[in-house]
């Protein structure tokens, strides 16, 4: 019986006007988005390559001058644009995309100036994720809001239930058919968009592409499952389809507009953090304390590397670095926690929930940045060990390690090829899945709960 219901519902959906309009809109937006991605990606890669070449040139120049210059210079490493940005950009253009480091410390992160045009309003890229979040979430509700109340109005609901079919089976059939219709709409768009991107030559057809596409479809279906369940809930909660529609639209506005746009307010209200000015004052206070307790002559300088005061200054500068690092690293952890807790709270809406899941599919966004941030700390340790080893081999160096000065460690040049370089490793399956496991569970539970609620209401629904 379920098969009959499914067949009837799917055919009903496929022949409807809303399917035709949705499909046309979706295919148009998918193709337009893909062409835009190809065009934008070329420019982004060109900018990145220029910036990377400049980064390496500077390193080479400093390596030629001296190993110490190379070690103490603070520079910003920029993250490479992802080739799978057509699936989801994961808002990377607004997230920090550069890490400031030297051999002595990973200092901070920043959103590199010029990443976005400040005169443009904030925008989402027209990628698969955006299309699913905006249009398909709407369509998922549109295909289910009158599944029960609409049939009641046309009097076919009573007729359907006069057969030997349970209410559970009927509702489940409508639910699954809505999800399958959703799939029938999203698949052509994804195939066409994939073709555009593949034919452009920016992406190659390989197992990664296939797996990411399948992964995306799975998380898109999960989102559709929650929204379709909400659509059914609206349908069984109202006596006529007009009210169901208004309820569904209210839910959609809540999920797509209100919750995602309230995230900053949620973060500031529920998970407050210290102000940056307060942290800066803390750092200055720590510096003052260290300066006061430093032996006299700690700031004396001359071109003579063996000037005894240089050792005092090196000690003081290392202590200052450690003090600042302690304060700032603790602050960065509080920023991460605030962001993560806010994401968890906004997962009350299936749309942000879906966005967080796509980060795992594409290996981008916040989890990617956290991985690079952590990997950079490992790299910085290697870089420092490399520098200390070089310095130890130089008999002309006093070996007074100063993270900011160039006077009292080796002044010999270093072969650039031997200098350790940071290479971003792609996220492994475990690294992608672990941070979003909680969102995955929330999604499944959410869909089941809302469907169960719809079922509970439908059991008591007056079909006449």
């Amino acid at each position: 019986m379920l098969r009959t219901i499914l067949k009837r519902e799917i055919l009903h959906n496929l022949y409807s006007l809303r399917f035709l309009i949705s499909l046309s809109l979706l295919v148009g937006v998918f193709i337009a988005g893909s062409f835009s991605f190809v065009k934008g990606y070329d420019a982004n890669i060109k900018n990145y390559q220029e910036s990377q070449a400049q980064f390496l040139d500077e390193m080479k120049t400093q390596a030629k001058e001296s190993a110490t210059r190379l070690a103490v210079k603070q520079r910003a490493y920029t993250l490479r644009p992802r080739t799978n940005g057509f699936i989801s950009d994961a808002k990377e253009k607004y997230l920090p995309n550069a890490i400031v480091f030297s051999a002595w410390n990973v200092f901070s992160f920043q959103n590199k100036s010029g990443s976005t045009n400040p005169f443009l309003n904030k925008f989402d890229e027209l990628n698969w994720s955006f299309i699913v979040c905006l249009i398909l979430s709407f369509v998922a509700l549109l295909f289910t809001f009158d599944a029960v109340s609409g049939e009641k109005e046309t009097k076919t609901l009573a007729l359907a239930l006069s057969n030997s079919v349970s209410r559970g089976t009927l509702l489940f059939g409508k639910y699954v058919s809505a999800i399958l219709t959703f799939l029938a709409m999203v698949l052509p768009g994804i195939i066409l968009s994939g073709l555009v991107v593949l034919l452009s030559g920016r992406v190659s057809l390989g197992p990664v592409f296939v797996l990411e596409t399948v992964g995306f479809l799975v998380v898109a279906i999960l989102m559709a499952a929650v929204l379709a369940a909400f659509g059914l809930l609206c349908s069984v909660a109202a006596r006529n389809s007009n009210i169901s529609l208004l309820l569904a639209l209210a839910f959609w506005i809540l999920f797509v507009v209100v919750v995602p746009n309230s995230s900053t307010f949620i973060a500031k209200t529920f998970f407050p953090i210290a102000k940056t000015e307060a942290i800066q004052k803390k750092v200055w206070a720590a510096f003052d304390d260290l300066n006061k307790s430093a032996p006299p002559g700690s700031w004396m300088s001359s071109s003579n590397p063996f000037l005894p005061q240089h050792e005092l200054r090196a000690n003081l500068q290392r202590k200052r670095l450690e003090a600042e690092k302690g304060i700032r690293d603790a602050y960065y952890q509080s920023l991460f926690r605030q962001f993560e807790k806010t994401r968890l709270l906004t997962a009350v809406s299936p749309v942000p929930l879906f966005q967080y899941l796509t980060e795992a599919v594409t290996g981008g966004g916040y989890p990617r940045f956290r991985k690079v941030w952590n990997d950079f700390h490992v790299y910085q340790g290697q870089f420092l060990a490399f520098f200390k080893n070089l310095d130890a081999q130089d008999p002309k160096s006093p070996h007074w390690y100063n993270p900011f000065d160039i006077v009292s460690t080796t002044r010999k040049p270093v072969a650039f090829e031997t200098v350790p370089q940071f290479v971003e490793k792609p996220m492994t399956f475990t690294e992608r899945v672990r941070p979003i496991l909680v969102f995955f569970v929330i999604n499944i539970v959410y869909a089941c709960l809302v469907f169960f609620l719809s079922f509970a209401l439908f059991v008591r629904y007056d079909v006449r």
Binding site: S36, N47, E50, Q338
Partner: protein, 536 residues
């Protein structure tokens, strides 16, 4: 008759579920958006206060003109509570340098302490209004004719001596009568929340601009009502009309505003910021080289030591104390040469900076032009201009800071300050001493000349021991603390352009005209379609 039909429709709508749900949505979302925006505004105001205090403190605590570099801090715009525009993307601080013209404001956008929160978007009153009222207008107009046709009442109405145009006018009036109170209620609610919150307090001009925003909202509402009417005249059933209206809503309100910016971002390239930075760095290197070359041609001083020297501020900042007369003179000559050259180089840099800014502005204008496809895009643009949070307002502010820089330079030049000792030291020239005189005084007469001191130091194990001898007797007037801060009461201050009712709205006249034309065309097409409508 027209009024009777309008009244009937109004009462019908008033009792409908769509009115209740629409009203509840406004009741929840409008205060929510206003409260969030007020909270954001207060954060920005707090940051503004901190930045302004710090800028005031900095400018008051300088002793030489080379360190005098005022900072302009832009106050947050109270009207941004209604429409944030691009105010969240740009900074609020502009430091006035001789060596560079102001290009983009610095500072923390949106007063957010956590940069990760930039990944979250936020919505304002205008955003909510654009979404809700477009939806309400379509929901109330999609079935104006189709529903009556389905119920059979349309035929009945047309059988009376009522012209179709009058009937259409009555229907439009009915919808306006239904939606106008909700729109008015939203604005009043927003105004009451702002009045109750007391911070910010709005001036008469700002309330006037809110009235303009209300007028723009009315036009926006009208466009969507006419779209709904048009769809209703072209569809046979209410369901078809509803589905088309809802898709148009999503397309116009969500897809186009986003698509316009994304297309402009992808297809219109802006110059690379890294390239611009490189060009500026190269020019800076060239400038430094010229200054160093000139410096080498200057006569060497008799004693190369400053008792206090600070050049930490950059941009030609030099603060000297306790130097010899010849060293002061060399630094004075150096500044007299370097500072006018620095100003010339700012003009050279500006050529590249301007090209970069123009590429940003071009990209933004393309996005604006694409967004004209959607009434929501036009409305948001107009609203941002009314609330002074659009790109033009920011551009005007930056232009004023550039003009202020010119005024500031003229102020310095009027004092002939670059070739004056006051540019580098507050020490009066009559108190300058030769190197030998300084050494004799500082060593308490133990050494008469620099040569004698150097010979003695050369015999010591610790070469730094000569500093101990020089520290024996302190000479008054050789430390910054010995001098008062500069009197800058005559320095020109930055003044923002006075805010008038129509300031900055020149560029939006075309957009407002477009909405009006859209209204007229949509209404006319809807009218023609209804004239030919088969009411059976």
């Amino acid at each position: 008759m027209v009024l009777q039909i309008a009244k009937k429709d109004f009462l019908n709508n008033l009792l409908s579920a769509r009115f209740t749900i629409g009203f509840v949505l406004c009741l929840v979302l409008i205060p929510f958006s206003i409260l969030i925006s007020i909270d954001d505004y207060r954060d920005q105001a707090r940051l503004y206060q901190l930045n302004r205090d710090s800028a005031d403190q900095d400018i008051k605590s300088v002793r030489v003109y080379s360190a005098l570099r005022p900072e302009v801090v832009k106050p947050p715009e109270p009207l941004s509570i209604f429409s944030k525009g691009i105010s969240g993307n740009v900074g609020n601080r502009v430091k006035i340098y001789l060596g560079e013209k102001p290009m983009l404001a610095a500072g923390k956008p949106m007063a957010r302490d956590n940069p990760y929160l930039n990944a979250f978007f936020s919505i304002d009153f205008v955003g909510i209004t654009a979404i809700i009222f477009a939806l309400l207008a379509l929901i109330f107009s999609y079935d104006v004719f189709t529903r009556e046709k389905e119920d059979g009442t349309l035929r009945l109405q047309m059988s009376n001596s009522l012209s179709r145009s009058r009937f259409l006018a009555a229907k439009v009036l009915g919808i306006f009568l239904t939606l106008l109170p909700i729109l008015l209620f939203c604005y009043l609610l927003g105004a009451v929340i702002i009045l109750l919150s007391r911070n910010p307090s709005f001036s008469a001009v700002e309330w006037g601009r809110i009235a303009l925003l209300f007028a723009a909202s009315l036009l926006y509402l009208a466009v969507f009502i006419f779209i709904g009417l048009l769809v209703s005249t072209r569809c046979k059933t209410s369901v078809t009309s509803l589905i088309i209206c809802l898709f148009l809503w999503v397309f116009f309100v969500f897809v186009i505003p986003n698509l316009s910016v994304y297309f402009a971002n992808s297809f219109v390239r802006v110059q690379s910021r890294d390239n611009l930075t490189r060009v500026i760095e190269d020019l800076d290197k060239e400038l430094r080289r010229k200054i160093v070359d000139y410096f080498k041609t200057l006569p060497k001083p008799d004693w190369e030591m400053n008792w206090y020297y600070d050049a930490g501020g950059g941009d030609g900042c030099k603060e000297l104390y306790g130097s010899s007369k010849s060293l002061f003179e060399r630094e004075r000559l150096s500044s007299a040469y370097s500072e006018p050259l620095r100003i010339d180089y700012a003009d050279k840099k500006w050529a590249s900076q301007k090209a970069y800014l123009e590429s940003l502005a071009h990209q933004q204008s393309v996005a604006d032009r694409i967004s004209l496809i959607s009434p929501a895009g036009i409305f948001r643009g107009v609203a941002a201009a009314i609330c002074l949070s659009d790109a033009n307002s920011q551009d005007r502010f930056m232009e004023l800071t550039r003009e202020y820089r010119e005024t500031f330079i003229r102020y310095l030049e009027s004092k002939n300050i670059f070739s004056s000792f006051r540019y580098i030291t507050p020490t009066p020239p009559y108190s300058f001493m030769t190197g030998d005189e300084i050494i004799e005084k500082r060593t308490g007469g133990e050494f008469k000349t620099q040569k004698a001191l150097d010979e003695w130091a050369g015999r010591q194990k610790d070469r730094m021991s000569s500093f101990e001898k020089l520290g024996k007797v302190e000479i008054p007037g050789t430390q910054p603390g010995d001098y008062p801060y500069l009197d800058i009461s005559d320095m020109p201050r930055f003044h923002e352009q006075p805010k008038l009712l129509f300031t900055g709205l020149e560029s939006t006249i075309v957009n407002i005209g477009l909405i009006l034309i859209e209204c007229v065309i949509l209404f006319y097409v809807g009218f023609v379609a209804f004239i030919r409508y088969d009411v059976r």
